[in-house]
Point group: C2
Chain length 207, copies 2
Amino acid sequence: MHLYLATTNAGKLRDFAYALTPDCTFTLLPGLDTLPVPEETADTFEGNARLKAIAYSLTQPDLLVLADDSGLEVDALQGAPGVRSARFADDHDYQTSRPLPTDRRNNLCLLDALASTPESRRGARYRCTLALARNGEVLVIADGLVEGEILAVPRGSAGFGYDPLFLLPDEGLTMAELAPAARNQHSHRARALAALLDKINKPHPAE
Amino acid sequence: MHLYLATTNAGKLRDFAYALTPDCTFTLLPGLDTLPVPEETADTFEGNARLKAIAYSLTQPDLLVLADDSGLEVDALQGAPGVRSARFADDHDYQTSRPLPTDRRNNLCLLDALASTPESRRGARYRCTLALARNGEVLVIADGLVEGEILAVPRGSAGFGYDPLFLLPDEGLTMAELAPAARNQHSHRARALAALLDKINKPHPAE
């Protein structure tokens, strides 16, 4: 099975590259960069994954198009930043003394938002929803999540997004400190992809 | 044909994802993160690409393993940083007032090295050599290069490495400003991969 990814995020592509197998391969959706980017107007990961998969799969007949929506849900922030994870600092008009990469700004904005939250109340989860569509029709939806805690100080340089702040308590490591094989075992994206492939390969209940 | 990539660099993986086709797919070499990283002791891109492809292909019987070595050659620096591109700042013990990502440090170190070099003498090229190996034997070597100029001020946020400083004069854009399709047309890595696939698909001269 060959999937066409509807993302240009290098970190997501790396996650997918690790998780896929020779039986299930991918390349980027042809012409992805020339297509209008669908506005992520939904208020759930599933909603955004669906609208992206539908929009992109309508651009190329018969291709299996995989779209990802994912983010961080922090308990003390009532689930924020959630679907706004990539835009958290912008949403809060968070200013830094000099220009910083988006991930860094978002991380600092999150630390700021949790500055007065004690360690015992910093539970969070990473969530990923994948939608597989063809010709504008969603064929499969799958979720993956991983529970963690938000640190007060970033650790590690692998990964992307909020990974340096996201501690996996059982591992004692942040997502940005995990070796690739461990990341592929624990990450929300790897788990969502495993769930998706499981649904695809499982015989249909009616069969 | 299915290739196993021997790199965990997210930017390189993104470049490969764009350049490959449904007929030629890839996943990461299984267990890549648990394998010893071969020391890049050669003084040419080809030498390093060969030694990586050989070492990694010996870990998994019969797999087609693709290794990449690439970097920037600056005329005014007699071809430096070359094979040391990823380690340029470290090699020069280049210090910054606060910790910065490796790419940023390397970029600043390069600007420093070229501070007194006039615009007319800032020619450079990006070069990539790919080696495809199986069972410790190199099957194909291919090169790709792209000519450019080193700017005095970085521009653009796509890409990685020295991309924000690498101007493509004909495009009037840096590698970090290129849209993915243009990057896939101009980048040294895309060109090397195209050359590699061309060599593989071309009938053998003796046939």
